[in-house]
Symmetry: C2
Subunit: 600 residues, 2 copies
Amino acid sequence: MSAKFYSKENLQFLLHEVFHVEELCQLEHFKDHTIESFDMMLEAAASLGANHLRPILVEMDRTPPHIENARIKVHPKMRELMKKFGEDGWISMSAPHEFGGQQVPFTILQAVSFIFGAANYSPTAYAFLTTGAAHLIEAFGSKELQEAYIPKMFTGEWQGTMALSEPQAGSSLGDVVTTATLTDKGHYLLKGQKVFISCGDSDAVDNVVHLMLARIEGAPAGTKGISLFVVPRMRPDENGELVFNDVNTAGVFHKMGYHGAPIAHLMMGEKDDCRGFLLGEPHKGLSYMFQMMNEARIGVGTNATSIASAAYYNALEYTKVRAQGRKLTEKDASKPQTLIINHADVKRMLLFQKSVVEGSLSLCLQACKYYDLSKTAPEAEREDNFLKLELLTPMAKSYPAEMSIQTTSAALQCFGGYGFTKEFLAELFFRETRIHTLHEGTTAIHGMDLLGRKVMMQNGKATMLLMQEVMQDIEEAKKYNLLKSYAAVTSNKLVQLQEVSMHLMTVAQTIGPEAYLSDATLYLELFGIITVAWQWLKQGIAVEKLKAANTKDYSAEFLQSKIYALQYFFEYEVPKTEGLITRLKSSNHVTIEAKPEEIL
Amino acid sequence: MSAKFYSKENLQFLLHEVFHVEELCQLEHFKDHTIESFDMMLEAAASLGANHLRPILVEMDRTPPHIENARIKVHPKMRELMKKFGEDGWISMSAPHEFGGQQVPFTILQAVSFIFGAANYSPTAYAFLTTGAAHLIEAFGSKELQEAYIPKMFTGEWQGTMALSEPQAGSSLGDVVTTATLTDKGHYLLKGQKVFISCGDSDAVDNVVHLMLARIEGAPAGTKGISLFVVPRMRPDENGELVFNDVNTAGVFHKMGYHGAPIAHLMMGEKDDCRGFLLGEPHKGLSYMFQMMNEARIGVGTNATSIASAAYYNALEYTKVRAQGRKLTEKDASKPQTLIINHADVKRMLLFQKSVVEGSLSLCLQACKYYDLSKTAPEAEREDNFLKLELLTPMAKSYPAEMSIQTTSAALQCFGGYGFTKEFLAELFFRETRIHTLHEGTTAIHGMDLLGRKVMMQNGKATMLLMQEVMQDIEEAKKYNLLKSYAAVTSNKLVQLQEVSMHLMTVAQTIGPEAYLSDATLYLELFGIITVAWQWLKQGIAVEKLKAANTKDYSAEFLQSKIYALQYFFEYEVPKTEGLITRLKSSNHVTIEAKPEEIL
């Protein structure tokens, strides 16, 4: 079966040559690490991926989670894996030393997540949801809560979750109605239901710790009345014994893919004995959650990219062994057939995937670097990095998520009719990645977040900061013959993006906010393509530097391959901005004007 | 569950107001029919779809075909259905009276197939593959063969198939190696294997009749040495008893969707007793097959559209009952949530689907009308219609096939996280339609067919004829205020298309055929969008005429809904041509230059 699911050489290239992660090791927070220790971690991640995750990918797909005696049963190997994720330190790798973590940059955590996800996406959810949940307790929990929950989460014995959605409150979290009633013992009693809780219940762990949004009785309506609680499935009693905390599993969602991870429907407080422990202050739950949101959203971008990577290498391998048809210049039908990678359209589909996968990964790592710097750089630099992170996050989440639908589809297409069958993995990746435009905010939500909030926040400061950085890279790219014209194109696209933004401001003023935001999804798409073009310029600069330095660290084929992918992106992907710009500047507002009863 | 899977009003509108099917009834071949009899047929089809096909859609998906004792078992209802397809005359509806058919236009057959497919795609494969296979025997079979096979096929007791692909010969049919050896009894003995044979074996029928490509011993290599045979699974002996014809079922393909229909792997002649009966002359098999190809390819376009239609109405219904979030102008979080159809981005996703679904259906029916006229119009008109059919077929097949992947994805997106679950049908349609860019020629094959063969055939006569017709419609559209600007856009796009074609001719001459055809898939996409823009102009003209005539036949909402979809298409879809044109005119040929070993 397909051995390669990601390119080690490319990941090295991005981390070392484009993002210079060694710079992070000079920061106080990461001073115990070196570039070598990062490389060893990534090596270990690759080995775990190849030896433990990939071998059960198909099995997991064929045996989705199911309910047995009101509990969710998952793939039997998952308990072993979760233990391994814990014992080998993957769950706690980014946590501070004080909580027993290894204090590794978020950038490296995401690189690991990328490798794992490319091997087999579902198991990563168990591990990194636990990391994220623990992170909330680290940030906002009392010492008591931290001691009671974090250690068992980091060993992989207990699962962590983010419990936000309810049947009536998915995209609209302000409508959460799960209630929390304060008792005289200091804890709250929770009552309500939650849906779409990833890893919300499973027999892979001994306990599940939900980081749950709920509304304290009497709280204001909307997002300003939501609090964050630790709500375990089993709570430790005074003696440390686990007793059932009245969190019942009402069901498991049957899904199109991503079968290795269970998505639960939970009922809290059916017997009025579901205890929750407040994190931080009342009514600030959503803002706490949002402090973790950039992580989770970049995580989705990385995961989408990882599946797209797996699909790409799977297809690439096939096109190099499958013979079909002949070159157009070969008229002799008695000659043997040619490998399909020799057909221009197959190369087109491969370069499409490669340019999007490697562009997406670069984009996600860019966001990661901002994240790390926003947390650990010298104080004076943090705010700027945070602003750039905030602005870039909608693209880092949605560009990979949306494009992975298309690239996994192209990968499937490379297999011809076989791509539709379960004899190959292509269809699995196509099903699997479809979740990513939906969870952690749908694409529309991110479009609104970008255009409605982030582009203009602090009088456009984030936009200005990011554009300055892009312009610097454009200037550098102009020094290289190979990149000159593409640098000019990118520069031109920045101008056009600004024109679009200005046009939309006028729409906001003359027509109103609805019309302003009506094509926010397309604006996000446009912004996404431009940011990935920027990432390709950065990669191009790194390639040119390596070539000038006569590098032995990367093969000539690798560097040439990068140039092809870069060319492909500018020749085939960047032109897609033209139609988007035309649309975004149009004065027609059919999606506003059309009345629901007139859409038949 | 979702009741509506297609719009009866829209189908009527297209057949009556845009394509004037009543004109067909004036032709000798269709003189027994009236517009009323067509409407009755469509009514009956809708009833069969709603009462017999849709109710088992989910069941069929959950119980895919499987092998039992070296035979394929399918959904138990399928036998009953196949009988119904036969007894009610659906299989034979388009066949000539002399074979017991009803001699219905192909346009109506496709309208019926659209309705059935929107209800439940898989069962239609059994019925209409049988129609297509019988059609080959009608056209090229001896009287003896016709009498032996066609009647049982038309009753639905026997299944018909098209048996083309082999493991080494999918897209490249010239590489078929199944052999046929003439015996002194007049029949041939076949030996070889076939893959991807839709309905190639099932317990829904008593027998399967394969229309099979094979190579007579000593035949020339390539496509010029392929012959067409009738190869039944069971052959009638001298007494009319069925005896096993040595066609073994080697396996069934497990697929991502389209589970109701089995796709078989067949082995012929393992005991050297597989008899085949030659159709027509030796070595002309592929050309016979190709005479049926336009039908099959339009059929794929229609089927893709039907699934997209089902997904659209399913999503539309949901957006009108699901409340989530509030209008941007509503700041009071205590107010009830709004229906999601009130969000501009949801309307955008709906209008995207509607404009593509109704544009695709119109495109398919346009091809159908050319088909009917090419066969049954007064002799002098046939050739021109045939040429236009030939040219339009790649778009009629591939535009709906490619776009249905995107529209079913948009439908799924309308459901938010629920779209990824099996509680709703959205994910099923998304899986189901993915077959259509693969079978009956991949999209790349159609791109090459269009650019490499059809655009220039007979010195571009087909192109000229089609463009003339489009120009006439543009001129008419210019008379209406609503359409004026869109008519001008379409006219402009025709000019740009021509410029692209001219540019590519230069590439062909200066660089060579590979570079000429390297972006044929994108050329097909461009041509597709332009032909659908034309179809929207035609629909716009019909709407304006109905409005001017103060029609009572169509509701005001329906006509307004058409105008919104038309606007959407021109505002959001047509601009996509800009990027395609830029790319197609570029002088960069990275997909030709990139060497396989440099794609990593």
